[in-house]
Symmetry: C2
Subunit: 443 residues, 2 copies
Amino acid sequence: MGSNLIHGNAVIGQAGGPTTVINQSLVGVIEGLRAEGAGTPGGTIKKIYGMRFGVEGLVKDELFDLSKLPYEFMRQLAVTPSAALGSTRVKPDEPCCERILASCKKHNIRYFFYIGGNDTAETCRIVNELARDTGYDMRCFHVPKTVDNDLAVGDHTPGFPSAARFVAKACMADFLDNAALPGIKINVIMGRHAGYLTAATALARRWHLGTTRIDGPQLIYVPEIPFVADRFVQDVAKVFDETGRCHIAVSEGIEDGEGTPIAARLMQQMGTDQHGNVQLSGTGLLADELSRLLKEKLAPVGGKPPRVRADTFGYLQRCFPDPAPVDSREARAVGRKAAELATMGQTDGSIAIVRRSPIADGALYSSELIRVELAEVARKARRMPMAFLDGHNNVSQQFLYYCRPLIGDIQRFERLQWSRRKQLETGEIWHDEGQPESPDALD
Amino acid sequence: MGSNLIHGNAVIGQAGGPTTVINQSLVGVIEGLRAEGAGTPGGTIKKIYGMRFGVEGLVKDELFDLSKLPYEFMRQLAVTPSAALGSTRVKPDEPCCERILASCKKHNIRYFFYIGGNDTAETCRIVNELARDTGYDMRCFHVPKTVDNDLAVGDHTPGFPSAARFVAKACMADFLDNAALPGIKINVIMGRHAGYLTAATALARRWHLGTTRIDGPQLIYVPEIPFVADRFVQDVAKVFDETGRCHIAVSEGIEDGEGTPIAARLMQQMGTDQHGNVQLSGTGLLADELSRLLKEKLAPVGGKPPRVRADTFGYLQRCFPDPAPVDSREARAVGRKAAELATMGQTDGSIAIVRRSPIADGALYSSELIRVELAEVARKARRMPMAFLDGHNNVSQQFLYYCRPLIGDIQRFERLQWSRRKQLETGEIWHDEGQPESPDALD
């Protein structure tokens, strides 16, 4: 056991929207603490507690005792989607953080780990300052997670790769579905302010095609670029006229030129959560309104509006049990790293994933974890850099190089393409990796 | 080569909503025909054609020549979701079927295979009668598929098990997501008239719990039982009051007492497809309206409406690339069987899957394929038998025994349950397979 350990207990909490791998981070923290003897009879760290529903449970003394979880149970818990401890949307202010600290003192908690996004990091930051100001010796760590990938530091955030994997697989299959009964298909993707997840739908296109838009989604709209309804209609009309169909990915968070979410404008009765955020997920409103817009504005086909369908991928994006292997590994590692730093004497911080491999075609992915200051993450949010975008409705090749290694292998599919029926007929049909296919591909 | 073969060509088409395994059936038919030498220099069956967009392509002479597809290409095509040939919603009447037959004569087609639901079977039936009446020797087979599982004969239909697998996995994860940030969650599931797919969400519950409703979905609404809004609100209020949350599966096709779809009543501007069907998929309207109803009618929580979220699972149910192994196998086999029967001299028919194993706990699943008359399938639809339902908002144990073997293995997850914190604390937490858990389980 390290000489830097403080006698006392540890607590772990989860906050914000859950992800498919957030329990990997929970188990990672526990593993890291146990490596220092936590929970064992002679351990300096006596108990490992879990907050039930984040700090809500902590201040109500609702704590799980996780010190003796069997390893096999933890192994299965780690692969379970969603926040096993329960989560919270409460965004603590200073008085609330004082109650949190009082609860820590009451339970002799000397190690505080909170897994979440930038609001969660802010809670850590305030609690950490209060502890220091009152001379209470406590180590305070934020462990990152968010499917939005919008934390200010690091290459990406645990939770994002798995969500990106889901939307890429889903769009790949949905594009084929749309090709079989052609028309216009809109898929609304999570992402309140950052378009990373919506951008990841571009990985549904065949690898070798890069940023070309023969495969769907042919049009991608992210919050980083103001959404102009007329331009949207024109974009769709162009693709629809050329190919007889159109596959579109739209971020739930698309905004008008003033930064107001389009969805918010559409809502007569706005649901807001305790962060004062407009409800963007858990409703099909944006998708349905974009459908209506296209049916109204596009030229009729055979006297009728064109076939337009819209799906909102919803909560499955953050919980579908098919995590990206890189994500499972890194989510576990960030938890372990936070515990290691805390037990090695670091007083506070957050963990960031730094990519060590180049963002380039075929580069073998590698990353490492570093400690960053809480203030670098707390409340800060990032959006996609312009270098990841290509025009107002597409992503760049650089984004594809960035995102591809994160989502893991995805099965490739075959297609019967009308434009290549000659090759089918002769049996000489095969992938031509270098050549984009004709846009009139049946697919 | 069999002596029952007719000299000429074969054609295969796909129709209706695609599924994850409909290309297995396409490849199955090709395999079955090739086994009789089709497409080889000395073959009695010269060419194997594929209709582009079903009979729409056939009457326009848009035919793929599939005779020489390389085996490895076919192997990958078989695992590709959606209809590789393209599909159609055209519901042919007799004049249309006359054009279809004329096209068959023009291309000397003597083997006609059409993969789809009951409308597709009806097309086969009419074309078959027209051929017989005009003395044109053609073998005409329907190959079943539908995620709705509503064909009149057989144990189940190819396409259903994979869709059932998706909704079960999705609901299992989504229930955990909902448990972490409690509230009310509605998931709208495909199924125009039959509730099988919505019922399959019950497989998201832990196996050993059977029909108990501690795990989600706690409430299941299918089209077979009239949907009464007030009763729905009462049901939800009861579960929400007892457990602080509620997880609900609703079929897109739920109907009022007069048989009118609730979604249709809600739609001001109805989209209809060429079958005259109301658009139920590709919109979030029903989900959003049910949300609104609950927010309005349920007692406020802390002065505000309770948290209600709704997702419409949409087209991913029929295309997400994670087929049930039984489904992949059977979908391939029904295609092969149709080709075998046709080449062995049968003139017409459809294929049905008959279960040979008992519908009982732990029974090892086995099935076989039989030929049925086209008229037994054509235009007929079935709904769930009452024995598969339990009250107005749940499924029966018998349904679970029926559906479980079809969807394949699903990973089990672990949970930290507040009601079992004593066992967690002592490290004696483990599955108690026989005992339903307490309903206040963290989650």
